[in-house]
Symmetry: C2
Subunit: 333 residues, 2 copies
DNA sequence: AATATTTTTGTATGCGATTACAATTCTGTT
DNA sequence: AACAGAATTGTAATCGCATACAAAAATATT
């Protein structure tokens, strides 16, 4: 391994000047700069990042904790994060928790051990207290999820109003019996989308029986199964709002496997607008989240935090949008 | 920050002992071990990974270079990698190249700078010479892609025989005019699948006009567009083999947007068997790759390499499988 | 030409851990 | 009780770089 001292010797300068050539070039004469660069090239010198990190106490890497990298929504957010990370010279360490709380906590050690300078959390299953603690010591930003009452910088959409939009759309199409397939209710996202649904139902003075609101887990299968339960009811819903797209696909396939058609017999709307939503037949009407932009925004915030810059607001709400496609139709009672 | 010397002082031992309690517990008396652990707990001591890494010259992190994390196939492979990485105490640094050669090369610096101990490459766009060079200096394993004539450990499927299987299936269904939507032909995967297609065509003495073989880029859009070209032909194909599932979706949607039906009018088969293939309507007949297992296998190999264990074979071929679903039907000429 | 000032370079320390090697304590044997 | 050998602990060097401070060289000022 070639070290800085090897370069220094061969170039007949001190290690300090070599170091300066690399990090503060304008403090060294052009002449010596050239000489040093020449030697660096000859010896194929690569500074050892570990040594630098130990000295400077920064790693130029950030940790991203994701619930499931396989989920297209999260992978898109991650891509957004990564894209601005590299531009700013940061690398991303990936922590996929598989929705497992323990692994989520385990990854926090990476920060404590100084292997990363900051953290982007795409999930927040862990105790809000321990998140707050981390945020006190290290730059942390939340994306997608948020922590109730916390001052940690957060970028997300307003899931409540998003769900309202979707529900309202169904109501205005004339639907009165609307089923809701929720996400896991131990997370704020699942809770908020449910909240938005209920609020809209209340606002239009509809009454929804409790059997029409069921908790899924954001998987295709849970959407499929819950929709089958709905279909077995004496009075199945005429429309269904699924709290994410994958469950919506499950619902639609459940409906068509019973010989019914979407949107003719039953309308379905999803949430997220993953790429497959426009590919699926019928193309899915859904609430679109700017996943990539949420990632870039989150990373930009984190960089400000890392640079000890001031952050103006704490909550960054991104724009969501109802994307009307082919999975809903008017209901005439 | 609490350092090892802080706990050493408070526990009235030397830093060496503290270090030993942490890494070689059986060389320290139970008594002092307890005392030290007690202090560690009290002070909430976390060893600084950077310092350790500098000393031991290993980082316990590996780099994974992916062409596109957003692609469900790759994200599943990545998940496989990560799952065995964490079990073995490794963390994964993510390099998403966005199919960009430069970024791919850029990520290699991470290894040279000693920020990672090894590398898993899910893409191999870069010059095979520079890959070989890396593999000489560091543990490297290739997954999915491979480098012609290289001795670098590789896990993949046999893309040629996979493509043969798919093509043969169509031939046996009676199809004689089969279109092929290839992947990018600057990569071995694209080339091999094309090869498998041609070989099968030759074996069954079919003649395929060159217009029926078009190069796509693995995206939905390219599948859609190429299929539209096929449909504009005087004699469109009666079956189409797309070199991955996303292009197959594109092809199917192009077909149905012209009022034709899959599989009734035209049969389509894909490649990969991503999750949506079974959700899509019609459910896609495709070649299934064991993505997760390819990831775990690759990481297991890398760990052997990292431990300087001997690796028996260099090429690990995983089993692919034709999954027959609803997108193909018999053709009677 | 002598001095003050600025620019450039060098010396030497420390970042926080691991680990040879040395020193000490403990154990068992006679 | 004296000693050898094993088990335990301590001392201090080291990993490769950055940087505070000191020294030297170059430039400006009188």
């Amino acid at each position: 391994m070639v070290r800085i001292i090897d370069v220094a010797k061969k170039a007949n300068v001190s290690t300090a000047t070599v170091s300066r050539v690399l990090s503060k070039p304008n403090t060294v004469t052009e002449e010596t700069t050239e000489k040093v660069l020449q030697v660096i090239k000859e010896l194929n010198y690569q500074p050892n990042a570990l040594a630098r990190q130990l000295r400077t106490l920064e790693t130029k890497t950030i940790l991203v904790i994701v619930p499931d990298i396989t989920n297209p929504f999260f992978s898109k957010v991650l891509r957004g994060i990564e894209s601005v990370a590299v531009i700013n010279g940061y690398q991303v360490l990936l922590g996929d928790t598989g929705n497992d709380l323990e692994r989520e906590n385990g990854y926090l050690n990476i920060l404590l051990q100084k292997k990363a300078d900051g953290l982007v959390l795409l999930t927040a299953k862990m105790k809000s207290k321990s998140i707050e603690e981390m945020a006190l010591k290290y730059p942390v930003v939340l994306a997608c999820e948020y922590v109730e009452g916390s001052a940690i910088p957060t970028v997300s959409i307003n899931n409540i109003s998003g769900a309202q939009k979707a529900t309202e759309y169904l109501v205005k199409l004339g639907h009165k019996r609307i089923g809701f397939i929720s996400g896991p209710l131990d997370g704020v996202i699942g809770q908020d989308r449910l909240k938005g649904f209920y609020q809209t139902i209340a606002r239009y003075n509809l009454r929804i029986e409790s059997v029409l609101v069921q908790e899924g887990n954001f998987s295709y299968e849970s959407g499929f199964n819950i929709m089958n339960q709905f279909l077995d009811l004496n009075h199945p819903p005429t429309a269904v709002f699924a709290a994410n797209d994958e469950m919506a696909f499950g619902a639609i396939n459940a409906i068509s496997s019973k010989g019914l058609s979407v949107p003719h017999d039953i309308s379905v709307v999803g949430f997220d607008d993953i790429k497959f939503s426009s590919i699926f037949k019928p193309a899915l009407t859904t609430i679109s989240q700017p996943a990539f932009e949420m990632g870039t925004m989150a990373m930009k915030l984190l960089i400000k935090l890392l640079n000890k810059e001031e952050i103006e607001r704490h909550q960054y709400l991104m724009e969501d949008q109802l994307i009307i496609r082919d999975s809903c139709s008017i209901h005439i009672s």
